[in-house]
Symmetry: C2
Subunit: 766 residues, 2 copies
């Protein structure tokens, strides 16, 4: 039954925008048809015959013909012409206007309140992106920048959390002209600049924030990390130099040394009176710290440690501050009474106050690098350099007055890993720094896309904003939401870590390692995507991608190579897994692993496989189940493979080689779950309703996009059927368009000062 | 039944290495068990009781216990100690040695020829990677460099094809010290250098290779592209400058001009006496060339064209040679007798012989860029600049003496695309240039991985080569084989294009656009992966990644933004698709699209879904079917979506927006299929048996890895079941280890001269 225009009652008109949009791209799945049907049925504002007409129009077997579509478009155009832009973003609102117009024209009385509610409900439920809604009747696209700065501010406060205050202060400092960017500096000039900047920050007390109060600090790692985060909006060379001086050099003395060292050095380090190095990595032994070659031989007669690099490959490699430093924390094999006690840290002066190298010290400039040329990296060798016994950082192992080695941690392997545990803060900062670089890139690319127009439908129209191309949304929106998700996870972990203090904690170490890998890879990927999304403009030095890309690149490698870190994460997960069954003893574990898994999360839910309704797809419990399932399943299969291999007497090293790729994937699944969980719990605590509405969409896109990255695995495991992955993909596309509506607010909420952002294309200057 | 050591006959011993390796990682799938069983059964060299024992050992329900494994390892160790390294790479060879040893010890007479053959067959079929085979009994890993340079040379000749000769000559030229790399040049110094280099090449005749013989050329685009390929091993600024002068500027005159222009300019362009620009892109209209703003107004009284940039955004943007050029090919809206005839190209002198700008010309330096700083990019505006009528490049449209516009192509849209067709050569060169950069990166990373050791199983062993880590193989080997696949596809297309000459050909345009997008994205990705695979060493300027990364980055954007190009490809596919049914008329197409597809390739083969035997997985017909299925299916669903939307009166522009992501995916599937097909046909023609054996593994890894990139789609479409994707994944891992064995030969076969490679870490200098 196809009514004439004359029959279009207000009730029917209310529904036209919904039906038009819903049919336009064949959007109606069976469950969606059912949903609309239910709403129509329940409305007592509609007559039976109205309901019949509407129901006819949602019948997939007999959908409206093109003549009907034409009438709909006409009717919508008429009402649209008189309406405000906001109304054209809502199916329900436009329907309401159309109905009221018809009523005013005297056709009938019409209340319509419940109908409007029903349409609003459906609009939300079907999730049709605003920007696609009425293109046919609204040639001028919106620029999406009309929303208030207040929203952005509220979200920023939430994202900044308790560190908001210190962040604001650092931004103020960086707005001083002395911090302005300069093009193509020579290596030497850039290094001088970075040193000058470092000293300015030290003088203002920002360097010692993580140290105890008695040495000028605030004992607050969270504030320290917040400074690092903000510096990374500015110049990554400065951020890295800051991290080397205060985090690595200062941190090694704080974490591995004892009161005597703290009193002697921390204050001077905080003010950069004593610039120093963290000399761990060696040329021949990159990630393999345990096998480094430098030796520290204790001479009991003189009470001195003789620090020596026996070969070229024993040279300390890529050491930051190597050209400026006066002292180095040197990691070496400590040999006392002829016995090697493993890797320890010893303080070695390397330059005098005039900046001349001390005897026995050789330093070689690493030369120009891909990026971070403001950091003075170099190689350092030691030739029989003697330092007093007290220079051993002796918190975890010491040499007694009588010349004997002592440690509260008798197991050398455990001692080694305890010392490495002090790298956690650095990893968290590096993760945050990489993320800051990514946020800068995303902000520039999003702002450019909200200003740049290209191609137009016809000669009468203006060109389309590139942000309105689905392919462009698909490029940038997943990056935008992932940046937010990572920010929440990292901030939360930094807060937890900051509260725990110097205690070792394997869980935190694993989380920090995993998030460092994820965040730094994300940054590399996101900055590249953003550069490309800005086309040739992104290639100009002035638009910042050049430095963002080059400087952040090494973040995937330093402070622990990502691939190596993920293997550490996997090993930690395997240990936890074993510990879960400690009571049952080793046979219990084996039996457990052998039987086909009683872990509840691993029981497939047959309903989940095919469920595609919006409620389900947006249910955080579904997201968490999917992420946890993947993690647990990968852990179980890894455990079981390893057990089988051990039974076959495969050597542990071979087992490691054969399961290496599996371990890396497991660690990634763990990080996925971790970030998702953190986002969910953060969202639960978000009270401001406006921010929450925005952030829920952000969460939805993040969660579903992350799941969709592993569709192949879920399908392979029979956790999903094809109908579900298709529905998720469609949902992701819609959510990209949804989040695009708030893109401007979201990048503003990162709170990157204009002066630091700097790129002309981020401010409409093409 | 578990026999004692004493019972281990030569026949049984032959099989021990196979069984050890096969069980070690639970490698035996049911079909593999069956395969081994068949071989055992068929051997008349084995007694019934021997067969029973062996069959007992392959029973998954009752596999050998750890005691048996221990005996196997002992026996293997004994024989391994006396054997050469090569033998330790082969299951069959070690088995043979073990059997012969037992025979000599007098236990029995043993022929064993058929058994050896059977084991060789199984070894091949089960595809156990050599490097993992006997780690337990062979602590010293092989460095994989023992094979002969002759193999590399043979493969190089095959890869180089008929252009090998000219490539060799260019490499010779580039070995001159004048071409050596220099660190951190200022923009001006670098530009001067690039200009000097360009002139040297021009003087040697390399620039005019693509021009007709009467103007100093060889009319050989293939040789021209080969030069570009080799220059890209050296310095991408030079390659781009070369492409701008000879390909774009010279090419525009050759392709869009007529004899009068050729005679006047080509010779001078070839020698760089006349340096010039290709001024197409405008600030406001990046990829949207059709809507550019610059006008060329014909003045019939004076017989002059007045070239004018009416606004800031009409400025020509990012024009290479803008600071050195004396003339520009300017693309503009040609207005004759008050009518706009669309985009045409006009030659405009911009500088006099002293290098001063001519009146009315404004040039602005683009400034420092992320990379390619040896290329002098700038913006150019024209203020009512007048040039004679003859300066119109009039091959496709001209102004007559009487001042009327004439063209053999009356349809303006067709004329526009015909002119753009001349961009094909540039796109092919850019694709090849990006690939050269990727090959340099891959060569450096592979050589480093074959020299660098890190971590060791225990204190007695040497550290493991990082190339022997599965995760490292998984990183680099897929890139290595993809570089080869892309090289074959591009070389082939360049040859075809070179033979066709200047004729327009939509298929070639689509292939060039698709391969340009694929190759440049591949380069970005591969160079990044290689940088990370070299850790901190990869970050040092001297190791080349800095420049490779920065310089190649823009390749994804220029000569057609990749995302835009892929949409062109998709549109071309849709047109072909429509043409297939031209006879049936429009209703035929609609009917065709509406019915559920009779395209034969789209019929699901239920056997395919679960088939996992090695024969099938390695069958090129399977690979091609999978690739074609994906392409056709995506094309059909796209066609059908578009048809539905048209029926619903969605405007064409909205249809385009709504299907944009679908189009991009379709175009990528088309490129996948194209490359696969080219590889297959190239491989068919490869006669040298040694090269062929190597290249077959390369092909296998490429084909399966490419399929595995789309597992999610194949599973979703029910083309595969999970059991198959798992088998493919396992196969890909094995093939990575297989190809690793030839990695050294393969990177040598790229034929990049040591001097151009230059990176110290590629030559064992850490």
């Amino acid at each position: 039954m196809q009514p004439n225009t004359i029959d279009y009652s207000p009730g029917i008109r209310s529904f036209i925008p919904l039906l038009y949009v819903a049919w336009a791209d064949g959007l109606l799945s069976p469950s969606e048809v059912k949903l609309i049907d239910q709403q129509i049925n329940s409305l007592d504002e509609l007559s039976q015959s109205e309901k019949e007409i509407l129901r006819g129009w949602i019948d997939p077997a007999d959908w409206p013909d093109s003549q009907v579509f034409k009438i709909w478009v006409q009717l919508m155009r008429e009402s649209a012409r008189e309406s405000e832009t906001e109304i054209l973003k809502s199916i329900a609102a436009l329907g309401k206007v159309m109905a009221e117009r018809a009523a005013i024209e005297g056709r009938s009385a019409w209340q319509g309140g419940k109908t409007y509610q029903a349409l609003k409900f459906l609009e939300e439920e079907l999730g049709v992106p605003g920007v696609l809604k009425f293109r046919a009747i609204q040639p001028k696209p919106s620029d999406g920048t009309g929303k208030s700065a207040a929203n952005a501010r509220a979200i920023q406060d939430w994202l900044d959390g308790p560190a908001g205050d210190v962040k604001g202060r650092v931004k103020k400092v960086l707005s001083d002209p002395v911090f302005s960017y300069e093009e193509h500096l020579s290596k030497e000039a850039y290094r001088d600049r970075a040193l000058l900047w470092l000293k300015l920050l030290g003088e203002q007390g920002y360097g010692s924030l993580g140290f105890p109060q008695e040495y000028g600090g605030k004992d607050d790692i969270m504030e320290y990390a917040a400074v690092f985060e903000v510096l990374s909006y500015h110049d990554l060379s400065l951020a890295v130099k800051f991290g080397v001086q205060f985090g690595l050099f200062g941190g090694s003395i704080f974490n591995l040394g004892t009161k005597i060292h703290h009193e002697k050095y921390l204050q001077k380090i905080g003010t950069v009176e004593l610039p120093g190095c963290f000399a761990m990595t060696e040329t021949g032994h990159g990630s393999n710290v345990r096998d480094l070659e430098t030796t520290g031989l204790y001479d009991p007669d003189k009470g001195e440690i003789e620090v020596h690099s026996p070969t070229y490959s024993a040279g300390k490699e890529y050491i930051g501050n190597a050209l400026h430093g006066k002292m180095a924390t040197v990691f070496l094999q400590l040999i006392v009474q002829g016995e090697n006690h493993g890797v320890h840290a010893v303080l070695v002066p390397i330059r005098n106050d005039s900046g001349d190298l001390l005897p026995g010290i050789r330093v070689e400039d690493n030369g120009r690098k891909l990026g971070l040329n403001g950091v003075d990296n170099g190689r350092i060798w030691f030739e029989h350099v003697r330092v007093p016994r007290e220079n051993l950082l002796n918190r975890f192992g010491q040499i007694t007055l009588l010349g004997r080695y002592e440690s509260e941690i008798p197991n050398p392997s455990k001692r080694f890993f305890t010392m490495l545990g002090t790298l956690v803060a650095g990893r968290l900062c590096v993760a945050m720094g990489a993320l800051s670089a990514a946020k800068s890139a995303i902000t520039i690319a999003v702002r450019y896309a909200l200003a740049r127009r290209q191609f137009k439908p016809d000669n009468k129209s203006v060109e389309t904003l590139i942000m309105d191309y689905p392919s462009h949304q698909r490029r940038l929106m997943p990056k935008l939401v992932e940046a937010i998700a990572l920010h929440l996870a990292l901030s939360d972990l930094i807060q937890v870590y900051s509260q725990k203090g110097r205690q070792n904690n394997r869980d935190i170490e694993a989380m920090a390692a995993g998030l460092k890998a994820r965040s730094t890879w994300f940054a590399t990927d996101a900055i590249q995507e953003c550069r490309e999304a800005c086309g040739g403009k992104g290639y100009l030095w002035e638009n910042r991608f050049a430095d963002l890309k080059a400087d952040s690149d090494i973040f995937t490698t330093f402070e622990g190579d990502n691939t190596v870190l993920l293997q550490l994460v996997a090993k930690s997960l395997l240990s936890n897994f074993k510990e879960d069954f400690n009571d049952a003893g080793i046979f219990g574990i084996i039996r457990y692993l052998g039987t086909r898994v009683s872990d509840r999360i691993l029981q497939l839910n047959p309903v989940y496989k095919r469920k595609t309704d919006a409620d389900h797809l947006r249910d955080p419990r579904f997201h968490l189940h999917a992420a946890s399932y993947r993690e647990r399943k990968l852990l179980h299969t890894l455990g079981s493979r390893i057990r089988q291999m051990f039974r076959k007497r495969i050597t542990p090293y071979d087992v490691f080689l054969r399961t290496q790729n599996h371990m890396i994937i497991l660690a990634q699944a763990y990080v996925d779950r971790l970030i998702l969980e953190k986002f969910q719990s953060k969202l639960d605590s978000l009270e401001d309703p406006v921010s929450r509405k925005v952030m829920e969409k952000v969460y939805q896109l993040f969660a579903l996009h992350q799941i969709s990255n592993h569709h192949d695995w879920y399908l392979e495991q029979d956790y999903f059927e094809g109908v579900k992955t298709k529905a998720i993909r469609r949902h992701v596309e819609r959510l990209c368009a949804d989040v695009r509506e708030d893109a401007s607010i979201l990048v503003s909420s990162f709170g990157i000062p204009d002066g630091l952002l700097s790129a002309p294309i981020a401010f409409g200057r093409m």
